[in-house]
Symmetry: C2
Subunit: 184 residues, 2 copies
């Protein structure tokens, strides 16, 4: 019998404990993400996997906002975020810090998930993951500033997954690898 756990038994940390907890060295960059539902979902996933920071760029909405709160459910208070008008500045900030920045996009020469071990053979100080607009994806001029592209293999009729779902899967795969390789 699998009895459901109640919220007390889940024993989650408080926002204050979260702020002081160890994070995975991963920054999520959202560039021109139009839907606040998607922004909120990414905050919630980033809370669950202790993402270091979210960089909100361009038209991407910023907290506090009722529509973001609807899906973030408070995760917009735990996860750190910064706003950059230009996504190029966000990418260059990460590169200057020694982070390897990957655009999540279907592109020539992209690396397919699950991530191959060699990506972690000489681990950088951290990773940046850039997710783009729901319709247009990551801008080519932003991709050109990145170290490469990551893509999710897909076998159906539609050309892409929802951006919050994609972020969920890629953050999850990264979190597994960080936990394994960086022993966080």
């Amino acid at each position: 019998m699998n009895r459901k756990l109640n919220i007390t038994e889940l024993d989650r940390m408080s926002v204050d404990e979260f702020k002081h907890s160890r994070k995975i060295p991963l920054v999520v960059v959202l560039d021109d993400v139009r839907s606040m539902y998607n922004v909120g979902s990414v905050f919630r996933t980033s809370d669950a996997y202790r993402v270091e920071c979210i960089y909100l760029c361009g038209i991407t909405a910023r907290p506090p906002h009722a529509e973001i709160h609807k899906t973030a459910l408070g995760a917009e208070d735990s996860v750190e975020w910064l706003y950059f008008q230009n996504p190029e500045d966000a990418v260059m900030d990460l590169r200057r810090r020694g982070y390897r920045v990957m655009a999540v996009e279907q592109a020539e020469g992209s690396v397919s998930l699950p991530l191959p071990d060699h990506l972690f053979a000489e681990p950088p100080d951290g990773y940046g993951l850039v997710f783009g607009n729901e319709v247009k994806g990551v801008h080519q001029h932003v991709i050109d500033l990145c170290d490469g592209c990551i893509e999710l293999p897909q076998y159906g009729t539609k050309h892409s997954l929802n951006v919050a779902t994609t972020a969920g899967i890629v953050i999850w795969e990264m979190a597994k690898l960080f936990t394994l390789k960086f022993e966080i």
Copy 2:
């Protein structure tokens, strides 16, 4: 240089080709999922990973519906679905067919993702995955009819991930294993 692929280069299959394509032996059960945004996202993920069928139960909305279409973007036409008033009937249908049915829920004795190999040591004819309401999760009386629970480890402040994100991650993990173990 990672040049973005255009929609023609992605070379996706048509809805008719999808109908005749080989699927992974996985049925996704949505029980009392309130948000049509979430239902649509699950259709889109199920299209990408060629899920056999989606069982929509209880208050879960059914296609055709403008709000589902907004996030499914046509995947509601490719992926097969059935409606069951009672989730119990959906679970029992799958069990009768020899499928192993797992509720995705934080519960005593649950199996944590990534899925351990032993789950696939004696593979059943297929798998069913039950996802529940956004607030209440999977009903305990439905869990009681399942073969077990699967849960996503989470390390933040919130008690759960968004249901469409959770479904994305679990379907992705299942798809990887089916591709490996069943050679689809």
